[in-house]
Symmetry: C2
């Protein structure tokens, strides 16, 4: 069983338009909504793979009700914890030549709500093999939130994947996550310098490992990923660029890495799975959707290279 | 008493950002929501002027509840009629150099919900002196909706102001509204040719009057307005361009025109009020807000010219 944590769960709202007139009035042609937040996307991928998972995090208000209704519709095991505030929305403006994302900051979480979540998280860890902690931390939650949760997981014998950025990532390292999964930009921002070259990137990954991360897997869009692990360093990439929607590809990679922990796969195998899953998510139409046929095809074609 | 009708009421959501990165991911700094739709804005202006009004229209779902809660908070007399569908939202992306509006189409209204609204509208007409019908018509409502409501109003001795565009405007003319209030672009779109010159504009207004409108008041942004009425034609404008947010200025003009009907003001007086109110709405920070001090100042300064 894999537990996914989405502290700042959202209702993802997509507006589709044939054309956008910036700084003018636009009529939206199609509105679609679904439960979102990176951890929810991870759970969708696990569900598609037939891997048991439980979804937790914080939701509230009418928007929280809409999130929970959609989790149920998707067949996910919803163990969200309620808060008094209203859950946030994200709005994505999609037109034929691009997509603009607007992320609301999220409702304030009180100290007692956070304490109630920590208690529930402790209960949910029982029976889990891995936990994936994803995304931003809503206002009101202590900055060391991910470190607290990761320590509890370690104490319960549950390995953690941390997919966060900035302060949430850096503060989370103290919780000794088994794997952290920044993208190249997030890694550069976290260590305070660009990671354009492989040398810079591996040096930055080394900093995160000396800070507490067991391994660092850096996603680089169409260039695949770079892994810095106790067993060695690798690059892995799909043989060719995949056309589609990259939103949620990182969540598919996180899902694959969690499955790798669950199954104690050797690193080369994990990385092939992670690249194939990320590419299959680009083919999938929405964040959290993966194209299973593409996934099987990509698996056989990933280029893995030991550094 | 003035009745305002907003068939496609909305929850207006404003996202404020210091900078917008189009086709990228943006973190919204500030989220604010309030009840919207053009008729709701008209009622806000009437409330600020101390003119009694009643707000009706169609709302549903959790978003409808949020709209009603905000109407109550604003001290407006809420006589909205419920529907099963979820009320729409509008999202306005505000950054220091502009604002982009995204209007959702609105929930589908069933035949029985529309019939229930028509009944309620008939009851609400009792005791009203004027009715303002504003904005788009949600999916499911017959195209002649405004004509039906305007005929009921006329039969009850209530004069109507129609502020709509396109098909809703043209189909509404059969209901013989006392005043229609398109802007210059909407007028051009309605008659199918541009109205750049005063001659074209008056010819187009004449078409709407021969179609059933008692008078036509055309708003022209900073250039004020042009009125084509049974008593003659006028232009009216503020003495100088007013800086601020033009959203809702047309709704303030509609409110002034309704007050003119209520008080049986002569046209020159109505037009001075309408220009002053529109300019005061530009000074006001949000749609439906008017700056009362500016309003009093502008009244003394409007340039009125008989054509």
């Amino acid at each position: 069983l894999i537990l996914t944590v989405t502290l700042n769960a959202a209702l993802d709202v997509t507006y589709r338009l044939g054309e956008v007139h910036w700084d003018q009035v636009n009529r939206v042609e199609q509105v679609s909504t679904r439960a979102g937040g990176k951890g929810v996307n991870v759970a969708r991928v696990l569900h598609a793979l037939g891997v048991d998972s439980t979804v937790t995090g914080l939701v509230g208000g009418a928007t929280g009700d809409a999130i929970r209704a959609d989790l149920a519709a998707a067949g996910l095991n919803d163990q969200m914890v309620g808060i008094a505030g209203e859950s946030r929305r994200t709005v994505v403006i999609v037109h034929p030549r691009g997509a603009t994302v607007f992320n609301e900051p999220g409702a304030h979480v009180s100290a007692s709500e956070w304490a109630a979540f920590v208690d529930r998280f402790g209960e949910l860890l029982a029976g889990c093999a891995a936990v994936v902690l994803s995304g931003s931390v809503p206002p009101g939650i202590p900055r060391e939130a991910y470190a607290v949760l990761l320590r509890m997981a370690t104490d319960a014998g549950v390995q953690g994947v941390l997919d966060a950025q900035g302060e949430a990532l850096m503060a989370g390292l103290a919780g000794r996550p088994a794997i952290v999964k920044p993208n190249q930009l997030e890694l550069g921002a976290a260590v305070g310098r660009p990671c354009g070259s492989m040398e810079d990137l591996l040096a930055a990954a080394g900093l995160l490992r000396s800070g507490g991360a067991g391994a660092v897997v850096v996603t680089r869009g169409a260039d695949g990923l770079v892994a810095s692990t106790p067993d060695g360093n690798w690059t892995a990439a799909a043989p060719e660029s995949v056309a589609g929607n990259a939103t949620g590809a990182g969540d598919a990679v996180a899902a694959a890495l969690a499955v790798g922990l669950l199954r104690a796969q050797p690193w080369p195998e994990r990385l092939v799975e992670a690249v194939a899953m990320g590419a299959a998510a680009v083919v999938g139409s929405l964040a959290g959707d993966i194209d299973l046929a593409s996934y099987r095809g990509f698996r056989a074609a990933v280029h893995l290279r030991r550094l």
